[in-house]
């Protein structure tokens, strides 16, 4: 491996006129090649230098930067923009703003969101039935949150979602099927509002507990709404 090389000269040939010559460069620092005895002296001193640094860290316990996660759970403060869990915002009375416009479904890069309309809307023309979110495939790209015209989605920092079962990672985000809070406000009283909505649990819905089959092969498990693109050749027009 001791091949001598003078290619630094080679590579500089015929660069004088080239565009590369105008780039301001600095040469990489190179420790000189030492002879036998100098190498021993230099070597010993360089090793000692390194050992000094590591010893400094050993004796100075203030340099420990470890945060102890399970023990510090109470004091662990994450940045407020951290994206680890999608929620649908519900106001203090428990109403959401989702109009079931399907924009989030469209921008989701891998169909992790599935919005199902309510089959028999009561107040408005279109009402949210189920907002199905697949945590198991979500990439937390935040596009759904940015695209939502009514900003009713939010990414929160709740990251503790490990499970033993993959199908537990598919949720319904809405707490009731029904109209938005604005539309419900038009109703006369609380009783009318309650009768216009239907409370649902996080696991209810067309795909509850069977999230795997969304990605799985059996096509009959896919929702009927699927207007999947046929696998024909895409007609491209050569520009």
């Amino acid at each position: 491996m001791n091949q001598e090389s003078n290619m630094s000269a080679n590579s500089k040939t015929d660069q004088s006129a080239s565009a590369l010559a105008q780039v301001p460069i600095e040469n990489a620092k190179r420790w000189p090649d030492l002879n036998y005895f100098n190498k021993i002296i230099y070597g010993a001193s360089s090793l000692a230098k390194g050992m000094k640094i590591t010893f400094g860290y050993l004796i100075n316990t203030k340099t420990v930067v470890t945060q102890q996660y399970p023990e510090n759970r109470e004091t662990l403060i994450l940045a407020d923009r951290v994206r680890a869990n999608l929620i649908m915002k519900h106001n203090e009375n428990g109403y959401h703003d989702c109009t079931s416009c399907h924009i989030c479904e469209g921008v989701c890069p891998n169909a992790s969101i599935h919005v199902v309309d309510r089959s028999e809307p009561t107040v408005s023309k279109k009402e949210l039935g189920y907002f199905v979110w697949r945590l198991d495939s979500c990439t937390f790209c935040n596009l759904c949150v940015m695209a939502c015209p009514f900003s009713c989605l939010e990414m929160t920092g709740q990251f503790e979602s490990s499970t033993y079962d993959q199908s537990l990672l598919v949720y319904n985000l809405n707490q009731y099927s029904g109209a938005t809070q604005n539309n419900l406000a038009k109703l006369a009283d609380d009783q009318a509002r309650t009768s216009a909505i239907k409370a649902i649990s996080p696991y209810e819905g067309p795909v509850a507990l069977e999230g795997y089959h969304l990605a799985g092969i059996p096509k009959e498990f896919l929702p009927q709404k699927s207007d999947a693109k046929t696998s024909q050749a895409r007609e491209g027009v050569n520009p």
């Binding site: 105008q22 929702p223 699927s226 024909q232 050749a233």
Partner: protein, 155 residues
């Protein structure tokens, strides 16, 4: 630092005996060449015009025109200029010449195109699949590639 596009075009046209065809629908300066002219053009570009780097090589499948478009993106560190060379080849029997004798990196970029688009290069030293298994059937990046394994997006 670098010449303007116009003066570079002049330089380019001087290097070739025949007039060049430019492709308009492209962001980079793009030359359109025939398959039989491809190797000669790239050789001239490398040796006369000092395009010393083959930055990228890719293929585009156009099934309804029955052709595969090969894209070569060249970069000249000397001129600080970039040029794209586009060549249409037959889709059913794609046998363009390999340019791995000009730029060594072409060997693997061409293997990638062979792997994903099924373009069989002539005079390639080692034309094998690069990413997929050797017993893979079909070329995934062709538009009519069919595979039962692929799931269509349901909504």
């Amino acid at each position: 630092m670098s010449q303007t596009i116009e003066s570079f075009k002049l330089l380019l046209e001087n290097a070739f005996s025949e007039p060049l065809t430019y492709l308009e629908a492209s962001q980079l300066l793009t030359i359109k060449v025939q398959e039989n002219q491809l190797f000669a053009t790239l050789k001239t570009l490398k040796e006369t015009l000092k395009f010393d780097a083959l930055i990228d090589h890719a293929g585009v499948d156009w099934p309804n025109e029955n052709k595969i478009e090969l894209i070569y993106i060249l970069f000249s560190t000397h001129h600080n200029q970039q040029i794209m060379v586009s060549a249409d080849i037959d889709r059913n029997q794609p046998t363009p010449p390999s340019v791995s004798s000009l730029w060594a990196i072409a060997e693997w970029q061409e293997r990638e195109v062979f792997d994903l688009l099924g373009v069989t290069y002539k005079n390639h030293p080692d034309l094998r699949r690069l990413f997929l298994e050797d017993n893979w059937v079909g070329s995934p990046l062709r538009k009519d590639y069919k595979d039962d394994f692929i799931l269509e997006r349901p909504w």
